[in-house]
Symmetry: C3
Subunit: 138 residues, 3 copies
Amino acid sequence: MITKQYVLTLPSLHRGMHLITERINDLLDGSVQTGTVHVFLQHTSASLCLNENVDPRVRSDAETFLNDLIPENYPKFLHTYEGSDDMPAHMKNMLLGSSLTLPVTQGRLALGTWQGIYLFEHRDYASGRTLIITLQGE
Amino acid sequence: MITKQYVLTLPSLHRGMHLITERINDLLDGSVQTGTVHVFLQHTSASLCLNENVDPRVRSDAETFLNDLIPENYPKFLHTYEGSDDMPAHMKNMLLGSSLTLPVTQGRLALGTWQGIYLFEHRDYASGRTLIITLQGE
Amino acid sequence: MITKQYVLTLPSLHRGMHLITERINDLLDGSVQTGTVHVFLQHTSASLCLNENVDPRVRSDAETFLNDLIPENYPKFLHTYEGSDDMPAHMKNMLLGSSLTLPVTQGRLALGTWQGIYLFEHRDYASGRTLIITLQGE
């Protein structure tokens, strides 16, 4: 078995869901045929998630729903000095998560037909986000 | 260290939480004594999760709560052409997740006494769901 | 590649978020320079999560928000015989999760600058929680 690790810094992305499946697949060079790839986001106001990769309204519906669930200017939030989108961003990150572990089969991501990997940016303005990607297997 | 990978297709299951702990344990043949098992669901309208494995009302309460949280016919949802249970299913999947990584100790799942592994089906009607299971360790 | 596994039992903690980053870092002895560490909670009424590690109001805001989202005495909950904080605790655990996989780089956790690892206790009174920690890499 071997371990390989990569650092991937994405460009600055606008608020919402951004498909990054190919960015991850591009790192797989065939050295691991069977195993897992762990994708880790080093930030607490964006998330990593999977979702349906066909209809863009799934992504906008998810953004709409989460904004309704965790509204900006939630009256009880005390952590407000980084902007009204900051504490909701932390809360969304807690619910969706900061990492994904995905299976690798025959050297490629073994996702389902309709699954895509997303960087979900929760802030209105954010710098490029950094991912640490760890490939393990044989 | 070794890696082993399995494909497990479950039968079609009705909406709600279904205990699959033994389906995963049955794949552990002792070849890995210490390590992890990664269970991955290749779908975006069901979830994998852990929960208490004793009182069936925990499972029905979870179904009730999530249905209240993410109602069908949510007025702002635009992705509706696959049925009123589809976009809520994607949203539940985003919140609960599509994979679990579990420790393996002495060749067996090292779950807590009250923990069970569940396939949480969010659709009213779904075909059998496919899992990719990757065992890594020594 | 090697695998190492540890059992860590935390002291009994009060309801809310507790930073445990150093408890995990202390287990890393340099034997794995590049890889992953999997932290698994053997319980269903507390959670493991990442979050911002600077302003303590982020943690109290998260507690406040989750208590509003999943209130005690939710009228439809049927699983009530373990106390009014029990079913909400199971529900929070389902949303936040029971495990974290984190990258290891140069022998240390490769967290972002502002990321901390938290044990989120959801019960009013709980015994010490047990974690199974599995380190894999080379």
